[in-house]
Point group: C2
Chain length 202, copies 2
């Protein structure tokens, strides 16, 4: 596990001077928050961390992966949402709600997510939440479900889910705060399904 206390110290490669991986993450968080995902280049992140751009890919894979890591989400939304995306448009709202509630009703995940929501009122936090929620979390719904006007439909879905979060988990308004998950699914699924699939006005 380590070569400390083996009698023969200083064997092998020493740990990288300052923790390179952490510096890349810090640089990414700062830049993503300040300029948004689209306007931040991997090269800029590498420069901010004082490392070679190739190291960014070495540690994190794609720029998307790095963004997800920088968000510090308790779950990888691309994994969690897979069953939602793969099931087709029928019943998509219901599956989405179930995934959504299972994450938010887990206490550890909830605390982490609340931290993200908290940043809403600072410009950097807004940018992060916009790109994260609309881009990474709900964005894939558009292509995967074959939505027309994907941006608009996804924004409508997001508006209802964000409101549910605010009332149930932030403001803790009754009876929403202690309502059974299945009842919530039954209540909100028709709304979300309408936003996803029904004809949009004008």
């Amino acid at each position: 596990m380590s070569n400390r206390h083996t009698g023969r110290a200083n064997r092998g490669r020493r740990p990288g001077a300052p923790d390179t991986r952490a510096e890349i993450l810090a640089s990414a968080r700062t830049l993503f928050a300040a300029r948004g995902f689209g306007s931040t280049s991997v090269r800029a992140i590498a420069a901010g961390a004082g490392v070679d751009p190739a190291l960014v890919h070495h540690y994190f894979g794609s720029k998307d992966d790095l963004f997800v890591a920088a968000l510090e989400l308790p779950v990888d939304p691309r994994v969690a949402l897979r069953p939602v995306l793969e099931g087709g448009l029928d019943g998509a709202a219901e599956r989405l709600l179930r995934v959504f509630l299972s994450v938010w009703d887990d206490e550890t995940a909830r605390l982490s997510l609340l931290g993200l929501i908290r940043g809403v009122f600072e410009p950097s936090g807004r940018q992060l939440l916009r790109d994260g929620l609309l881009g990474v979390v709900l964005g894939p719904l558009g292509p995967a479900l074959g939505l027309d006007e994907p941006q608009r439909r996804v924004a409508l879905v997001a508006s209802q889910m964000m409101g549910l979060v605010m009332l149930r988990y932030v403001l803790e308004v009754e009876p929403l705060a202690s309502m059974d998950g299945e009842v919530l699914v039954a209540t909100y699924a028709p709304t979300l399904q309408r936003y996803l699939a029904d004809p949009l006005p004008s």
Copy 2:
């Protein structure tokens, strides 16, 4: 209107020593935020301001009036919502959305309201927003429209409106942020009407 600059200064009664009205307001804000509307008595507010309870009524009328004043809302929700309450259940969602958007799309009012929303993450601000939004603003919908399960229906309505506020006015997500008001009404009215009038699950 005033005796300033009339050439004969200091006419009439001078303003009361410490501004009693303002002290009552300050005391009310503190107590409403800390304990909530229901658990705060007019007597406690008066004690906090060091004045007689009757003065509270003298300056502000009812306890409800005082609460609205303490919220520093840009409009009196009880006045603004009158047409919503009086029109009956049919079309209530549409009328509610129109009033809602007319207030939020006014810049002065919006800035003031955003200040209220900002307090969501502090316990005192939560209490204030809960009592304000659910109690004063949307609460009257229950009795006026003759809703069954008024608490639940009003909370559902609030969850969609709060989400719309977050996406359109706080996060400023497109295309919601610059969407025409009438399109928004047409989009969200069916959702709100369902929350108000349709059978609820379980």
